[in-house]
């Protein structure tokens, strides 16, 4: 299993606020191979960003806490690393692209300076001219004229700022890139450009990527595998083909795809999933989707469904537990 770059095992994260204890992530398991792009989809508040922040160990101080579980990045246990180790890892081995490029650049520093900063932090030996040259390279790599490195962020448009953010994230050629809705704040044409840049650079540097988004189109275009997250749990995971073309799905995934309007038909109303996400301050005994599930059974309310594997396709739903048992029996029979 040398190819696994990031492996998250049974991750539980809580936020301790004044009013309540919020269960943000409840038992997430996932792996990312080297060079692979994993799409993490789900509605707002499903715990996607929290999962990414856990990998960076950047959960809000004193509020967010990893309660349980292990995160291995390139063989190193993130949950046990010291703060100094983490500083050496952040930006160097794993880096993050934030949602809003407008606010993730420091307004009082020149953009070139901001790209240079991450280079200097992780490479003490680089001379001033080497850093300069590398900054020029990075600017050109993301499609910005290198002359503009002396400008301030407010002199750039949104898409260009996101390019600068990408340049910063890729400056040290990290092994893993966490892209937290990198295109949400951009308009559609710029979205396509930015994604194209990320994709090309990722291939060039052989970087793995966790792409967080709620745009299923982006997932289909950019990802190798997809994980669908709901209420802090991954309810379905598989290759893009598994998710987009197979017929067996978690009812939540069905609802998610069902809420995309069909271009070929004339529809008056969209078909959303009825109901709301369960209260995150209450830990669910059974399946978190129980309340909204059109195919719910009695067992769903009381017992957590197991992760049912079918080849590369994982579904966490009682509807498929029997199928798995049957498949196991078959396998045993074959052997």
């Amino acid at each position: 299993m040398n190819d696994v770059l990031l492996s998250i095992e049974n991750l539980h994260v809580t936020y301790r606020t004044d009013e309540a204890l919020v269960y943000a992530v409840n038992g997430v398991n996932l792996n990312i191979m080297r060079g692979e792009t994993l799409g993490l989809v789900g509605e707002t508040g499903a715990g996607k960003t929290t999962t990414a922040l856990s990998v960076m160990r950047l959960l809000p101080d004193k509020i967010g806490k990893i309660e349980q579980g292990k995160i291995y990045l390139d063989g190193l246990d993130i949950t046990a690393a010291t703060e100094a180790d983490m500083r050496a890892i952040r930006g160097n081995i794993v880096s993050m692209i934030f949602q809003d490029p407008m606010s993730s650049l420091n307004p009082v520093l020149r953009v070139g300076e901001q790209i240079a900063e991450v280079l200097r932090i992780h490479n003490d030996k680089l001379s001033k001219s080497e850093v300069d040259r590398r900054v020029d390279e990075l600017m050109e790599m993301v499609g910005l004229p290198k002359e503009r490195k002396v400008e301030y962020p407010h002199q750039f448009s949104g898409g260009m700022k996101q390019r600068v953010v990408i340049a910063i994230a890729l400056a040290c050629e990290p092994k893993l890139l966490l892209a937290d809705e990198p295109t949400t704040a951009l308009d559609v044409t710029i979205q396509a450009q930015v994604l194209a840049i990320i994709r090309e650079l990722k291939e060039m540097l052989n970087t793995s990527m966790l792409l967080i988004t709620h745009d299923l189109g982006i997932v289909a275009e950019n990802c190798d595998r997809v994980a669908v997250m709901y209420a802090g749990e991954i309810v379905e995971m598989g290759t893009v083909e598994d998710i987009f073309e197979e017929k067996d799905h978690h009812p939540y995934t069905v609802g998610l795809f069902g809420s995309i309007p069909d271009l070929d038909k004339n529809i008056d109303r969209l078909t959303p999933i009825e109901g709301m996400m369960p209260d995150p301050t209450v830990l669910q005994a059974g399946c978190p989707f129980y309340d909204r599930c059109p195919q719910r059974m009695d067992i769903c309310n009381t017992e957590k469904p197991a992760e049912v594997m079918k080849g590369t396709h994982m579904i966490k739903c009682h509807l498929f537990s029997n199928v798995e048992k049957a498949a196991n029996v078959e396998k045993v029979g074959e052997v």
């Binding site: 890892i89 952040r90 930006g91 880096s95 991450v118 050109e140 002359e147 503009r148």
Partner: protein
């Protein structure tokens, strides 16, 4: 791959604009400042005072004109020889005022720089880390704030003894709490910005984040507060000298000149009027500049 990328997006095309010319925020601030006439007036007043202080020795010799007593010449009205007249010891008032500017300005700036530096450190730590650190630092500052500024300075000078250095220490200590308050609050507003988290995500150390990312973004209110409190400090120093706790006697200082001229005030008003005007001008100039800076630094106030 890179070139293909550049062609597709179109931003890589040669650009005729000259980016090497450093266009900066500073220019914009200077422009906004220069539009404010009162602020420019204040700056002019300050410049004149500063020039007087710098070239005081050229304008009037310290030993022979500002210090040396000349009883024969005492209490002269303003004349061509003594522009603002002489005091009860026959010393030239104009000479004493410009040498006094030296003391007032250096002491004022020294006090503000000292308390600003120390106050910044405390305020930045309290604001950035929050929680326990914040509580401990700010409660100690609250204790200091509970004592009136002047009373505090008087007490410290009383304990340490007079003299310039002790006065500076006393004034600094009494204005540290105010600075750390202001700095803490402006840091609180910057601390949770996305770019601070982004800097953390790059593996930047806390000390570097505070120094490079947090402080520069919080600098506006800090500069304004420093300018305005410089005026306050000059006033306090004069006050301290007036009650005899500031500088040692023959030294010319605006506050002590006022104090010494008190007795002759009725018959020789020039003894108190001119030092008074000097204090008023300095404070006015600093306040005008402070107001102008606040408007220039705050982009929300521009019209």
């Amino acid at each position: 791959m890179t070139t293909k990328n550049v062609d597709k997006t179109g931003v890589g095309k040669p650009d005729s604009r000259d980016y090497t010319k450093k266009r900066s925020q500073l220019k914009l601030i200077m422009y906004r400042f220069s539009k404010n006439r009162l602020a420019v007036l204040g700056l002019c007043i300050l410049c004149v005072l500063a020039l007087c202080a710098i070239f005081a020795d050229v304008i009037a010799d310290y030993q022979t004109m500002a210090i040396k007593q000349n009883i024969m010449n005492k209490l002269q009205p303003p004349s061509a020889e003594h522009w603002l007249g002489t005091d009860q010891y026959g010393r030239d008032i104009f000479a004493r005022i410009i040498h006094g500017a030296r003391i007032s300005l250096t002491m004022g700036i020294g006090t503000v720089l000292t308390s600003l530096t120390i106050g910044s450190i405390f305020g930045a730590l309290a604001g950035y880390y929050g929680g326990k650190v914040d509580n401990i630092i700010m409660r100690i500052m609250d204790v200091f704030l509970a004592i009136p500024n002047m009373l505090m300075a008087v007490t410290i000078v009383g304990a340490l003894g007079g003299g310039l250095v002790n006065l500076l220490i006393a004034m600094s200590i009494s204005s540290i709490p105010r600075f750390s308050r202001v700095i803490r609050s402006s840091i609180l507003s910057v601390r949770d910005m996305d770019y601070i988290e982004a800097a953390r995500a790059c593996g930047t150390k806390d000390s570097r984040i505070i120094y490079k990312h947090v402080l520069p973004n919080a600098i506006g209110p800090i500069i304004v507060n420093a300018t305005l409190s410089l005026a306050n400090t000059i006033l306090s120093i004069s006050g301290m000298s007036f009650i005899g706790l500031g500088i040692e006697k023959p030294m010319p200082e605006w506050g002590s000149m006022l104090s010494e001229g008190r007795a002759q005030m009725r018959y020789h008003p020039n003894l108190v009027i001119f030092p008074g005007i000097a204090i008023a001008l300095a404070v006015l100039g600093l306040n005008l500049v402070g107001d102008g800076l606040r408007d220039a630094l705050d982009p929300k106030l521009k019209n």
